[in-house]
Assembly symmetry: C2
Homo-oligomer: 326 residues x 2
């Protein structure tokens, strides 16, 4: 906890930027204890837990706005919590900070976290700080869900619907624009860059949890995440025309950008949900989605043949799975 003129002390970071995120919850460490008590779950609810991280030069650029980094670390985790059918409860934050992090950065980062916490109703339990040569933000999120509910990623039946929320590929197009690999007019550029920098988790999960068999968020791309769900047991038949694309994305695909639908099917970081559910629940799920202003599309069904099949020709050779680890 020693502080020098040139570097931020642990105590200063905690007191000035992190304590406010605790929202004065009782039983938590409030950064004065080494641990927290989680006794806020009633006997009808159980806890869900997920952990995910984002790293400089892999998931963001070092000069990215700290608000974007706050948005990304919460979205990658909230997205998992929602996909489990749970609502967010609290989280731990592990910051591995390089020397370039200053108080302006921390101020902007923590204010964005506070805004997101207020939006979804969860608080910071505590965490851990360290120095690092690259910025790594790692977080463990807790959610609460009714005791009887349990949504696994690969428990479903033959001929179940495959549903997708939101649109595919917008974050990826934003990244390609930032990398100057494709370009469009300034409005479209800004639209897609925002999709890449400020991804939003799909809150539908807990609202439809009673009516689905499996859910997973699309973090590694539609093909990659669907492959994980199929788990080498079943296959999927996808109706290409129903894959949800925004009008703006169609403009990009129609431009001479050398960028095709195939490139978007493995595009990560859209954070919509893949939902696998019985056909008989389709209307119920669509109604709930519509009521909550969430775009939802039925893109295919579970089949017996292992693998992912498309009803029209797609060049799969160019499909590479997005992999945070490589």
């Amino acid at each position: 906890m020693k502080s020098t003129k040139n570097s931020l002390s642990e105590k200063l970071i905690i007191n000035r930027y992190l304590k406010k995120l605790n929202f004065k919850n009782k039983g938590t460490f409030n950064f004065e204890n080494d641990g927290a008590y989680l006794d806020l779950i009633s006997k009808n609810y159980k806890l869900t837990v997920t952990t995910d991280h984002i790293s400089e030069d892999i998931d963001f650029f070092s000069n990215d706005d700290p608000k974007s980094i706050a948005q990304k670390i919460t979205t990658v985790n909230l997205s998992d919590i929602f996909a489990m059918g749970a609502v967010p409860h609290s989280y731990l934050l592990n910051l591995h900070l390089p020397n370039y992090i200053n108080e302006n950065w921390l101020n902007s980062f923590s204010n964005q976290l506070k805004k997101i916490q207020n939006k979804y109703g969860f608080y910071l339990l505590g965490g851990d700080l360290s120095k690092s040569n690259k910025l790594i933000v790692s977080s463990t999120f807790f959610g609460s869900i009714k005791k009887k509910l349990e949504i696994f990623q690969n428990k479903f039946n033959l001929y179940d619907d495959i549903l997708i929320t939101g649109n595919i590929g917008e974050s990826k197009i934003g990244l390609e624009i930032l990398k100057k690999k494709i370009s469009s007019n300034i409005n479209l550029n800004q639209y897609f860059i925002k999709k890449y920098l400020y991804p939003i988790p799909c809150k539908l999960g807990p609202l439809i949890a009673n009516h689905v068999n499996s859910m997973k968020d699309i973090s590694d791309g539609l093909i990659g995440d669907l492959t994980d769900m199929l788990n080498d047991k079943y296959g999927a038949l996808i109706n290409v025309n129903t894959i949800p694309l925004s009008v703006k994305t169609k403009i990009i695909l129609n431009n001479k950008n050398n960028f095709r639908l195939e490139d978007l099917l493995n595009a990560g970081d859209d954070y919509g949900l893949i939902i696998i559910s019985s056909q008989k629940n389709r209307n119920k799920i669509f109604n709930i989605a519509n009521k909550n202003n969430v775009k939802i599309s039925c893109v295919g069904k579970i089949i017996n043949e292992k693998g992912i099949y498309f009803d029209s020709h797609l060049d799969m050779k160019n499909m590479k799975k997005f992999d945070h680890f490589s």
Copy 2:
């Protein structure tokens, strides 16, 4: 999940080295889900949570035995769980892996984790993998504790006892030997190096939780951790002659090593407990410690004057707090 000849795939690491640590527990992600359900806590127990990390070049050297790294990441976290009066339940493991990590490393690392899990009875819930240029191992541990119990680090009374388990400074001496700053005979060198490489958490916490006011593990050194506990509200009067030192440590202090008691009072990573408790419970606590073969010493008491005072002259100028963050 793509795999090349030269690098380990995420899937291979999970299947070959991490799945075995899950101990086939139901409701956990078993690395196939993005999250886990924690419904194993009965209505009489609540969950405690703590998170801590260790980093290459700060908490260990890159060529350290992976068994030592496994020992350290579990001890830093178990130590916090025990200090909260809880028993370990499960954990999440976040591995940020540089390229030099190979299958031998993972094999040795995961086998040591398995051994420690078996010893204390907890299992791996899941986690997160990423590439990094330095090795960072980060972990979130869950413990369970009776609903009524709550041990905070800074809730105690004037004139309470200050107790310490184990001996002070042995890990630090091991580190100084490894850095070739001090040396002794080969037996002593090996003894202290082992204390540094394989620290062991003090399991006494949950056994005495009913009889104490506050507990904290000594991870940043006696002075630093006690200062955190005092939290600028009370002070501590320490009886220097009662500070627990092993016979071997006294040999080092008596050598011409230019190494003094003062240097050990801020030595981190011993992972004994500082216990603050009412004088009337002293015998009870000592009896439980003795029954469990845990060395325990009463080193002082809580006083009204803020700060830490010693009953004999110590040169405090040279005391620098051990700080993982600096």
